[in-house]
């Protein structure tokens, strides 16, 4: 009996010895991000969690960007977010990345009226341009998400978009050759979870900032506008065109929801009321920024207008009456009565909001 115990002990020793017999060198410091629990020989390779803070400079006429305190901007987080944004690994069949429907050439929007998901099913709203998002107080046309982090959860599991499950995404990422170390570097985590995926994507999205348009250069006395563009500027910024009340400030949006007289009731898409359940919000949609509007066709929540000319024609018509139409549409029934030249001027002005650097950088 005793000998049996000895034998057992001996074998245990041998087994453990066997492990020890293959000594490997590596980082032996257990607070390092590349700590190797099997390493016995320190090889001075330890890397410590040390992110590089990324500071967003506030553009002229913009408020300070509000960044969630639990997701500070870091160079590592942004790089990881960009990689995820462009990686089809997030979709169920690995064919579609965020960037497929938010294409940089189109100011991170979709030139198609409706985007098509992995199962070849189309949605019913136009994919928004991703631009200056960090200054928005809600996301999606109906404002259904209050943060970029919250928003990023949605397309991944939406059955007509990426149609994936977060369990599957986590599985794929954790068994990937690169992602575990990138998440470790960005967030100091050993297991990749959905919360950190959306945090990284949100960080990247906050860096998509456009403030180098011809208009910005004009306001900075670096470039002159044409006579036509200046006429458009005046129409836009007075009650003649009355664009500025919603597309306000240097951000060219007001973070609010309006019914701009597109349709009569009943509405096919009730918009904001889907979120608030308030009938007074029927047919209201979030004001999009007009920065880079030249690149973000088609227009409106349902992409019904193919060109800026059609958009201007809509407003010039005065719009259609419905019970929730915004009183700012005060020329309803009368129209703006712009001349053809004034309409051209307005479009010319809108094109001064184009920032070519934004789509190439």
């Amino acid at each position: 009996m005793k000998s049996l115990i000895y034998l057992l002990l001996g074998s245990i020793l041998i087994i453990s010895c066997k492990k020890d017999l293959a000594p490997i060198s590596g980082c032996t410091d257990n607070i390092a991000i590349n700590y190797n629990p099997n390493a016995i020989t320190e090889d001075q390779s330890c890397n410590y969690f040390n992110t590089t803070p990324y500071v967003i400079e506030t553009p002229y006429g913009f408020p300070d960007m509000k960044i969630p305190s639990d997701n500070p901007m870091t160079v590592e987080g942004i790089a990881l977010g960009e990689k995820l944004f462009k990686d089809p690994i997030l979709s169920a069949d690995k064919t579609q990345a965020c960037i497929n429907c938010h294409q940089q050439n189109f100011s991170f929007s979709d030139p198609n009226q409706f985007s098509t998901g992995i199962d070849n099913i189309q949605g019913n709203r136009n994919a928004s341009a991703l631009i200056n998002l960090g200054w928005n107080t809600s996301f999606n046309w109906d404002g259904s998400s209050l943060t970029l982090e919250e928003q990023a959860f949605e397309p991944v599991t939406n059955s007509i978009e990426m149609h994936n499950t977060w369990t599957n995404v986590e599985l794929e990422l954790n068994s990937h050759s690169n992602y575990p170390s990138l998440f470790k570097q960005a967030f100091n985590i050993n297991y990749i979870d959905s919360n950190h995926v959306v945090k990284a994507i949100a960080q990247f999205e906050r860096t998509l900032i456009s403030t180098n348009s011809k208009l910005d250069r004009y306001l900075n006395n670096e470039e002159q506008l044409t006579i036509s563009e200046l006429n458009g500027y005046a129409i836009f910024n007075t009650e003649k065109g009355d664009c500025f009340h919603c597309h306000s400030t240097n951000m060219f949006m007001d973070n609010l929801f309006h019914n701009n007289g597109l349709d009569i009731e009943p509405f096919i898409d009730i918009g904001r009321a889907k979120v608030t359940s308030n009938p007074l919000d029927n047919g209201k949609f979030k004001t999009p920024t007009l920065r880079n509007v030249e690149m973000t066709a088609p227009y409106m929540h349902d992409g019904r207008f193919a060109t800026l000319e059609e958009v201007v024609d809509h407003y010039d018509s005065g719009g259609k009456y419905s019970t929730t139409v915004d009183p700012l549409m005060k020329k309803l029934g009368v129209g703006l009565q712009l001349s053809n030249q004034e309409k051209k001027d307005l479009v010319a002005y809108l094109k001064t909001l184009t920032d070519n650097e934004f789509i190439t950088q």
Binding site: S248, M329, K330, G333
Partner: protein, 242 residues
């Protein structure tokens, strides 16, 4: 042991109650209330009639009150708030409090409707909530809307916008002073000052009709002035509750 514990808690209790007695100060709450022809404002209700005989409703009301100040007999003044933004769709904007009002004999309260020239500057309040919604474009003088008052008139599909502000850089803000008698001597607790806006009076004497001016007065200096005249005459009343 028990006795000591009892003694300690008794002393602690004493201290606590002493602190409480000491802590009584005077806090002032400024409330913003809104009436139309004397009745509390109800939005989206086509039940109002202006001097011109037009029926109307009120759907949007946003405005800025600035330099809200208490003045005392000895010439001191106490600024309660530099700028306060009121939005009828957000009850949290209907009041604010100023705590620990210093002892004094306060004889008047004053405020400005809108922003005077020194404050009405583009992007001056870029980090305030009202920056985007009250923005007034540069080609029309810049700065901020003093007030956005909007709704429908005559029928549901004809709209009016009464937007006031510093048209072409002119100053149409105005000061309102109300004499009060408020002696603060540490023990008043909470005092309220209620600033009521009687909305119908914006359009009365001189009479302003929506059919002529509903489509916008932002560039109309004469109308900005008429609104200012009406506003400084009988739009605001202030009451104090002690």
């Amino acid at each position: 042991m028990k006795k000591t514990l009892l003694l300690i808690s008794a002393i602690a209790f004493l201290f606590t109650s002493c602190d409480k007695d000491k802590a009584i100060t005077t806090d002032i709450t400024i409330n913003f209330t809104h009436t139309v022809s004397g009745a509390d404002l109800i939005t989206n209700s086509m039940t109002y009639t202006n001097e011109a005989g037009e029926n109307y409703d009120i759907q949007t009301l946003k405005y800025l009150i600035s330099e809200i100040t208490l003045h005392s007999e000895n010439g001191n003044s106490l600024l309660l708030d530099e700028v306060h933004f009121i939005d009828i769709s957000d009850e949290s904007t209907f009041s604010f409090s100023y705590n620990d009002v210093p002892n004094n004999d306060y004889t008047s309260i004053s405020f400005d409707m809108g922003l005077d020239t020194a404050k009405n500057i583009s992007n001056k309040y870029v980090n305030d909530d009202f920056h985007t919604t009250m923005f007034w474009p540069e080609p029309n003088g810049g700065g901020y809307h003093y007030m956005k008052l909007e709704g429908a008139y005559n029928n549901d599909s004809t709209f009016y916008n009464t937007h006031t502000g510093g048209t072409m850089g002119a100053d149409y803000s105005f000061n309102h002073v109300k004499n009060i008698s408020l002696t603060v001597d540490n023990d008043l607790g909470n005092v309220s000052a209620n600033i009521n806006m009687e909305l119908n009076n914006w359009y009365n004497s001189p009479q302003i009709e929506f059919s002529s001016y509903g489509m916008g007065i932002m560039m109309n200096m004469m109308m900005q002035n008429n609104i200012k005249v009406n506003g400084s005459t009988n739009v605001f009343t202030v009451t104090i509750d002690k």
